[in-house]
């Protein structure tokens, strides 16, 4: 049972590391940006939401890395 659990934990860790990576902010920021863009596209052009949201997500993640280094 413990062996089976540790195998599942290892698979979960590998998938998490593959998709989320070093900072979960990138994944969450991407999903939030795309979600807002999808909503905005119902009423007006929404490409600018993604163009602004993507670099903002990166910069926020980098600023978190900078804070951690301080």
């Amino acid at each position: 049972m413990t062996q089976q659990r540790s195998w599942m934990v290892r698979v979960y860790d590998a998938v998490f590391d593959f998709l989320i990576g070093d900072d979960w902010v990138l994944a969450v920021g991407t999903v939030v940006t795309l979600g807002i863009a999808a909503l905005v596209s119902l009423v007006m052009a929404s490409w600018w939401v993604i163009v602004l949201g993507v670099p903002l997500t990166l910069v926020y993640s980098l600023s978190r890395a900078l804070q951690l280094k301080k």
């Binding site: 991407t30 795309l34 993604i50 993507v54 980098l62």
Partner: protein, 242 residues
């Protein structure tokens, strides 16, 4: 234009990952014997082949808007991960990838027992895991990039060219390829993945890009500019602190 970027992205991403995998395979080959290293590499490549053959057609069957949203979103997350690492390394906040050091660490971890004639279990696991994990990123890029443009074959060709190049150079030099500008390549791939991801995910959520396909060039320039500015910003923060 898309085909060109497709080949460039898969070639460069594969080159970076293959160089990392080669370091591990060389360490296993030298310490545990080449039989162990080659059999583990072959098994890992076979596993990757099964994954690509299994998932490639499966992904291609999704409706185009859904495919673009899922693939674009994943490429975006993936590209941002690569960019984050590359920017942190370029600005000195993260240590540069050092293949010589990684090679030395792997050799030390594997022990100095003389290689035997049989396949070594520990060495096999290390080489298999190394090739599979590094290869998974390549497989992901090949399948997603290729499927979205219906050019999985072309994407695989870019990856194969990188694999052949790394194997040939690895056979000749017999040591880690520490002179490959990994961080610059990683940054380039990060820019390409983020740009393509932005474009496709945008189309997936219903955004209409001004200029159609040509918007991709604008996105590419924008991501490149943001990356450069991020490096300059972080470098200025590091210099001030120093």
């Amino acid at each position: 234009m898309r085909d060109f970027f497709l080949v460039v992205a898969t070639f460069a991403a594969s080159l970076v990952e293959m160089v990392e995998a080669l370091t591990i395979v060389l360490a296993v080959g030298i310490t545990k014997g080449w039989k162990t290293a080659f059999s583990a590499t072959a098994t890992a490549l076979l596993t990757l082949g099964v994954i690509i053959i299994g998932f490639g057609p499966l992904i291609s069957k999704l409706p185009l808007p859904v495919l673009r949203l899922i693939v674009g979103g994943l490429l975006l997350i993936f590209g941002l991960q690569w960019l984050r690492k590359a920017v942190l390394r370029a600005s000195g906040l993260k240590a540069l990838h050092n293949e010589d050091q990684i090679f030395a660490d792997e050799v030390a971890a594997l022990g100095d027992v003389a290689p035997g004639k049989n396949i070594d279990g520990k060495g096999f696991t290390v080489a298999f895991k190394g090739v599979l994990l590094e290869g998974l990123e390549v497989a992901f890029i090949v399948v997603t990039f290729g499927a979205t443009q219906h050019r999985v074959g072309l994407a695989a060709l870019g990856a194969l060219a990188a694999a052949v190049l790394v194997v040939i150079v690895g056979l000749f030099v017999h040591r880690p390829l520490s002179r490959v500008p990994e961080n610059s390549l990683k940054m380039g791939v990060g820019v390409l993945l983020t740009s393509f991801g932005t474009f496709w995910a945008g189309e997936g959520v219903g955004a209409h890009w001004p200029g159609g396909d040509f918007a991709l060039l604008g996105i590419l320039a924008w991501v490149l500019l943001m990356t450069g500015l991020s490096v300059l910003w972080l470098r200025s923060k590091t210099v001030v602190r120093a």
